[in-house]
């Protein structure tokens, strides 16, 4: 147990469509409230738009739409998780951002095989927390929009 306690990972947690997700904290650049978003015509549906975050241009990706989850009722309530990939900035739009959890890697369980296919592709494991499950996301797969042809707008 002591060995495992040494391998603690900090996860930024957030919810979208009632589901709890987590991202390793080192992949999260910042958390911000998206404002003045410019929508991009002809872009695939999961791209909500682009916005200016302190002089950088951030491409906002709606996690709910990316994973085919039921959409939010109140779209203004969204928060964004800032992620850097390559030399580009992305913002993952989620419903709400929760606390940062320290979780032991040994508790991380493999993704259940019966998980919905789209969600299973981006999941990197599951934690059983008190009362709910936390799905760990693989950022690079979330950003890989072209992976599933169905996800690309015609």
């Amino acid at each position: 147990m002591n060995d495992a306690a040494a391998k603690l990972t900090e996860y930024v947690t957030f919810t979208t469509a009632g589901q709890l997700f987590g991202l390793p904290i080192e992949r999260v650049q910042d958390v911000f409230k998206p404002a003045h978003m410019t929508r991009v015509p002809l872009a695939s549906p999961e791209i909500s738009g682009v916005l200016n975050l302190r002089g950088r241009i951030v491409t906002a990706i709606d996690l709910g739409k990316r994973l085919d989850l039921p959409s939010r009722v109140d779209s203004t309530a969204a928060m964004a998780i800032g992620i850097e990939s390559g030399s580009e900035s992305f913002g993952l739009l989620v419903d709400a951002v929760g606390e940062v959890l320290k979780l032991s890697e040994t508790d991380r369980e493999p993704t259940p095989i019966n998980l919905e296919r789209k969600l299973a592709r981006v999941a990197a494991g599951v934690f059983r927390l008190d009362g709910q499950l936390l799905v760990v996301l693989d950022v690079d797969r979330v950003l890989d929009l072209g992976a599933e042809p169905a996800a690309v707008a015609a």
Binding site: H36, T38, R39, V40, P41, L42, A43, S44, I47, V50, L51, N52, G55, I57, T59, I61, G86, E88, F90, L143, L145
Partner: protein, 849 residues
């Protein structure tokens, strides 16, 4: 790596490029002492530094080369063999330098082969002294030579200006005034300044909203300083375009040797400066185009002589500034593009059908060479067929916001024109609004902005295709809102941004035009790069992000009307002739199922009128139209008016009077040649022509005009007569040109038209033989009398008979007309009289011939 060694590599690289350029000129002008001096000095500098750094292999080789150059400088004749050998030596030096750069030490190897050759040639001359003293000044004649500055020389003016001073000394002198800064540092500066410009814009935007701000004055200063700083930093990045041309003389020389051709490369405007980033990006496309000219354009000496051209071909490279752009032209005096072969290839590759091609001008067909996989050379040579096609050239140029255009005249050459922005980082853009979103359109491609829905600039629809009449041209339109799927656009109003992409001109309808702004282009997110409509993103002064429209991308949304001709000055002769042959025809149905057509330029408007508004008076149909009572006419008794709903009509207007022609349905607008193959005896029908493969009745609008207003002009049936004569019809009114041209054509003549006296004189300069001129008298600038006088005083046109069209025929006018050489006078509306006069005059020609 050693700092000293790095400097040496940089400097040697630059020097070698210069030597390359110099050597080819040297071969052409072996007696030019100045060139000789330059080459000698450059080789000598490399040698000297090699010795200093202990690079033995390089030193031995350059010493042998310098030795030979010294001999030439002292008067030994220069042979082609010697130049080739020197070039080979320079290639070896470059190879060694490359390895040196990679490994930081001189590679092992043996150069005795070259050195022996160099020495053999050096000895081959008169028994010369063992070696030339390296620091010996340049012979006097170098200084005496006038500066016959060509491009390559201008590109390296600095060393040339140091005159007779030995290189080492010159280097020191320059060093005191300039320093070497790494490109990375400059690029970083540029990025920082770009950000500063953005922040400045944002601040200005904020202050604009607070009238009495204390920040106003200091901010104005900040703004000015920023602008100066931006300009200064941009300047540090500017380099003469000659830097990108340096290798070209060598390339052309090698090609000449490979292809057995004789080509001279002329370079003008090499000192024209542009941003180094842009320079790097155009280097390869330019080299490719020059290769292309040498390989495909210029004929072999035998063919050239056979065609009556000088034995050696010329490729002319020129550059100049124009606004915020640089225009680069690459022209050859070769055979020109083979239109026939391009047609065949385009069909073979499935780029266009025969029918599509028939509707295109030669200029448009030429542009097919920019399509991927296009190569008309039967044999792929190692020169141009390197897998780098013209499509890559165009892509590279378009990627940096430039355009490439080409003109080709069979037998006399091809000219490529490249237009690129001076810098990439900051461009001027038009900010527009569409569907509630804002977009930036680069100014480079915007020709003008027209307010639609006001006055004559009304958006009309032919079936579902929106078009705009703009100064006698039909401009195909697209609604930005629809292209970007921002919603249906039902309003035919707003602003039309007239955009040019290559040869295409089209209008993009937007809801509003906001302002122009200097924008800093930010690359697009990788997730959005698949969207062709956008080329990048930018942050506006108010901090919001907007998308930059890619004119090429949205042009793809245009359908078949995409290929509209420009009426710019760059329209070449052959295109002009082609566009004269092509007529825009409005195809419609009325009465019978057989399609009917009229020249589109005769039609003033297409209208749909509510049937309830049609009144019957005195047995004639009338409708209130624009505060006038407009008569409605039917093509024949078969066609009837609709009982209810909307009745489509064609409106013809002239001199404030309008008439409506009732039709059943408007079918299409097509561009086609109007060849009336069978004349018709039926009143109201000029004859039949095959348009887009369908036999179509060409309606004689002239038949209907007097029916609407009896005094419009009188008309009697024309007598058709066949004769292969070519008639030049000159009239400043497009209405009458389009009215009379089909009539004369129907009488069996070839017709070409001109809109002014000046155009008429130009028409004589083209290849077409003109047998007879029919000209209006009252025209702006040059009237009919002046035209006749000009023709009389020009050899070749003085004997051509002229028939004058006059609104009023007075004795005085006839007298004056005879004096200047009019052969006949016909009243403008007397069409039968005109045909009779033409017939009579051509009979005279026949007799004379």
């Amino acid at each position: 790596m050693d700092e000293l060694l790095r400097d040496f590599l940089t400097e040697s690289g630059e020097n070698l490029d210069k030597v390359d350029a110099e050597l080819v000129r040297f071969e052409q002008e072996p007696n030019n002492g100045q060139i000789l001096g330059n080459i000698f000095r450059l080789v000598h500098t490399i040698k000297g530094t090699c010795g200093f750094l202990g690079l033995a292999r390089l030193e031995t080789l350059t010493h042998a080369a310098e030795n030979l150059m010294g001999k030439f400088r002292d008067g030994m004749p220069v042979t082609a063999e010697a130049v080739s050998l020197t070039l080979a030596t320079l290639d070896r030096i470059k190879a060694i330098l490359e390895r040196l750069e990679a490994d930081a030490q001189e590679p092992a190897g043996d150069d005795t082969d070259l050195i022996e050759e160099l020495n053999r040639l050096a000895e081959g001359g008169h028994p010369a002294p063992p070696s030339t003293p390296p620091d010996k000044p340049i012979p006097q004649r170098a200084a005496e030579r006038g500066d016959d500055s060509t491009g390559a020389e201008a590109a390296e003016k600095a060393p040339a200006e140091t005159g007779e001073r030995p290189a080492a000394e010159a280097g020191e002198k320059t060093a005191a005034h300039s320093i070497r800064v790494s490109v990375d540092t400059l690029d970083h500066l540029m990025t920082t300044v770009s950000e500063l410009v953005l922040t400045r814009n944002q601040l200005l935007e904020i202050v604009r909203r607070h009238e009495d701000s204390d920040f106003k004055v200091p901010l104005q200063r900040l703004s000015n300083v920023t602008a100066e700083l931006q300009e200064g930093v941009m300047k540090t990045r500017m380099q003469p375009i000659g830097n990108a041309w340096q290798k070209l003389p060598r390339v052309v020389r090698d090609l000449c040797a490979d292809l057995g051709k004789d080509i001279e490369l002329e370079m003008r405007g090499a000192e024209t400066e542009l941003d180094r980033q842009v320079l790097e990006l155009v280097r390869d496309p330019l080299t490719h185009l020059v290769r292309n000219c040498a390989d495909h354009g210029i004929e072999s000496p035998v063919d050239r002589l056979a065609a009556g051209k000088p034995r050696s071909g010329t490729i002319r490279l020129s550059a100049c500034h124009e606004g915020g752009h640089i225009i680069i032209e690459i022209a050859d005096d070769g055979r020109g593009l083979d239109i026939g072969r391009i047609r065949a290839k385009a069909v073979e590759l499935g780029l266009a059908s025969e029918a599509d091609l028939a509707a295109k001008s030669d200029g448009e067909i030429c542009n097919f060479i920019f399509s991927p996989g296009f190569s008309t050379a039967a044999q792929i040579t190692n020169i141009s067929g390197r897998g780098v096609g013209m499509d890559v050239v165009r892509n590279n140029i378009e990627q940096i916001g430039g355009t490439v255009d080409l003109k080709s005249v069979a037998g006399s050459g091809t000219t490529f024109t490249i237009k690129i922005p001076l810098t990439l980082a900051i461009v001027s853009a038009l900010v527009v609004e569409s569907g509630g979103e804002r977009f930036a359109i680069p100014q480079l491609s915007v020709l003008e902005v027209v307010r639609a829905g006001v006055g004559d600039h009304r958006i009309e629809r032919i079936k579902d295709t929106p078009v705009l009449r703009l100064r006698n041209k039909l401009l195909p339109l697209l609604h930005l809102k629809e292209v970007l799927r921002l919603g249906e656009s039902d309003r035919d109003s707003g602003f039309v941004v007239v955009i040019q992409v290559g040869n295409q001109v089209f209008g993009a309808v937007v809801d509003g035009v906001l302002h122009t702004e200097e924008i800093v282009i930010k690359p697009m997110s990788s997730k959005l790069r698949n969207i062709a409509a956008f080329s990048g993103t930018t942050i506006l002064g108010d901090g919001s992000v907007i998308m930059i429209i890619d004119p090429n991308g949205i042009a793809q949304a245009l359908g078949r009307f995409a290929q509209t001709q420009t009426d710019g000055p760059d329209l070449n002769e052959s295109e002009q002739t082609a566009s004269e042959d092509m007529v825009s025809l409005l195809v419609f149905r009325a009465g019978s199922q057989r399609p009917k057509a009229v020249p589109l330029s005769l039609v003033t408007r297409l209208e749909e009128i509510d049937c309830r508004r049609i009144e019957i008076s005195d047995g004639r149909h009338l409708v209130q139209y624009r505060d006038q009572l407009m008569p409605l006419l039917r093509i024949d008794t078969e066609s009837g008016l609709k009982k209810e709903g909307a009745q489509p009509i064609l409106v013809f207007s002239d001199h404030g009077r309008s008439m409506g022609l009732v039709v059943d349905e408007i079918v299409d607008i097509v561009e086609d040649k109007l060849d009336i193959e069978v004349a018709s005896n039926r009143p109201g029908v000029l004859g039949f022509a095959v348009i887009k493969g369908v036999t179509t009745e060409i309606v004689d609008v002239g038949h209907f005009l007097p029916q609407a207003f009896e005094d419009w002009f009188r008309r009697r049936d024309s007598h058709a007569m066949r004769s292969p004569r070519t008639i030049l019809l000159v009239d400043d009114s497009a209405f009458f040109r389009d009215l009379l041209a089909p009539l004369i054509k129907a009488a069996g003549y070839q017709v070409i038209t001109a809109g002014s006296g000046v155009e008429a004189l130009a028409a004589f300069k083209s290849d077409t033989r003109i047998d007879l001129v029919v000209t209006d008298i009252e025209m702006p600038e040059m009237d009919g009398f002046a035209l006749a006088q000009a023709m009389q005083s020009t050899p070749g046109t003085s004997g051509v008979p002229i028939i004058a069209l006059a609104a009023m025929v007075s004795d005085e006018a006839i007298e004056r007309g005879r004096a200047v050489g009019f052969h006949d006078f016909v009243a403008k509306f007397d069409r039968t009289g005109l045909i009779a006069a033409i017939k009579e005059q051509s009979a005279d020609i026949n007799r004379a011939a």
